[in-house]
Amino acid sequence: MESLITFLRLTLLSMVPFVLAAQGTMLGGRAGVFNVAQEGIMLVGASLGFIGSYLAGGSTLVGILAAMLVGGIFGLALAYFTTSLKMNQFVIGLSLLFIGTGLSTLIPKLVIGVTLSQPLIPTLKDLPIPLLSNIPFLGRVLFSHNILVYFSILLSIGLWYFLFRTQLGLELRSVGENPNAADSLGINTSKHRYVTAVLGGMLIGLAGAYLPMVYTGTFTEGMVKGRGWLTIALTFFAGWSPLPVLYGSLFFAGIEVASYRFQAGGIAIPYQYLLMVPYLATILVMMFTFRKTRVPGFLGNNYDREKRSL
């Protein structure tokens, strides 16, 4: 029982970076902008989240804002190069990925210098919800987490409502599905693409900042460990919809936690096998779901109103 509670608690805790990054990816994708720089944006978000918090004397808020700011800048760059300059989304995404990866290790070296042990920042505190957190079992599993856990759940529900229950959400989806039709109805396709790419970048940056702020208290090189790439897979087989993204994140987090728990449990398998599990499981799941999933019709393409429609 006790270990089940711990497992579920940790799964919810580890779900957050997946939810935030995947919702960010989903949001941009719904307008047709396919971001592949997650790994780099998360790294630079982790790096600046840590540095921001460190420079502000351990202020979590400053760290979060710094990470979201830099994520937003990367999103803006992606939107500008693809939407305004009509450059290949994948190639630009890769360039941003590289720049983000480079900056993530460069900035701490410039600000803090090379030290034997990196300084630590305070990690996010748990905020138990009054009354609800006293419910046996559920209280500890669901209602005594850090604020970003609650935020990621509310965000998923909010995005679902926005996309499928509001006029603006419908317009956004139409831009990602058929920008030609959307344009002819007077919808400003570029504006949708810019806004979602920037908001998406901010969420991905925040996802990165979660890692030093909750797990480690410091930034280490390459600490995202492929989560950015896993996020892309997750978004695909969640069919670019907010609620399946949330469930899918639980699945990814569950695998991640399970592989670490086994490792700590002293089971006689070399730990390297356990660390392979998330990536292999993802490939397996893709084999079974890739055919059935829906993808926004215009994903990865750039709309040029002066060109004839496809």
């Binding site: 720049i99 480079g102 460069l106 892309i232 990536y279």
Partner: protein, 335 residues
Amino acid sequence: MTIVRKIAPYVIAIIASFAAAGIFIALTGANIFQAYETILFTSFRTPNGFVQTLLKFIPLTLQALAFTIPLTAGKFNMGGEGQMIVGAIAASAVGIVGADLPAFILLPLVILAGVAAGALWGLIPAYLLYKFNINEILTSMLLNFVSFQIIDLVATGPWRDPVAGHPTTVQIGQGGFLPMLIKNPPLNAGLILALLVAAAVYLYTSRTTGGYELVATGANPRAAAVFGINVKRMFVFSIVLAGGIAGLSGVIEVAGVQHRLIVGLQHNFLVLGVIIALIARGNNLAVPFVAFFIAILEIGASAMQRTMNVPIEMVFIVEALVLLFVLLSDVVRRR
């Protein structure tokens, strides 16, 4: 005139990215011009510097080709690093198990094993693409992370060198070493292999029917299919071939440079390979030249870190910016 017009965007891109990096270098308090000088000329000051540059040039060229070949067919192979690692593992496994074999048997076996392993590792995403239509970018990338664990497993397993602090296997048999072109500073025959592969890839894609089918597939898969090219088979073939070439880069790292399997031998080669391939705009003839330029920057960057305390990532940013500016020059030309 045309050649000037072709090269001009590159020159402008390089100057612009160096200028941008200068801002960061100035922030570290280092002398900007001394830093530029170190980055650009370390490779040419000493014989050792030049050989180091060539040793970087080998895997960079092969990794870039492992990206450009599928790119020719319109596919993205992000698994070069994993294919390199798996190739290195297979090469060292054969080299350790067959340590007593004479060179004329062992060396071909080592090379063959590495190339085959890399090709097989490439076959996984290629097959998933062929059979299930799964995006090859994701699967090839995710397999890199799997390969990181496999190399760790092998290097800490029964072949582990107990004396080494870092996870490393024992040496492969002498018969598995690539011959040396120069003894001191050591330069192995992998350079010739890399140049041969680069030349072969160029001739294949530009002068043969099979290569033409590859290009046609990339240019317009639908039209290619109408003309009877099995497009899906071309995708598979291009990624498997790329895997074999990436595997060869792993072989050279083991049989030519380290003579053993070391965790982390892949450095940053995938990312740099992709940067080189994209700066070269997928042109197989340009790849070796761009790779040589990037090798110069990389060697200069490590020297700059050692002597001036400027972080090595600075040059990585320069390389990424060169790529971005080269890409931007396309936009400028379009207008």
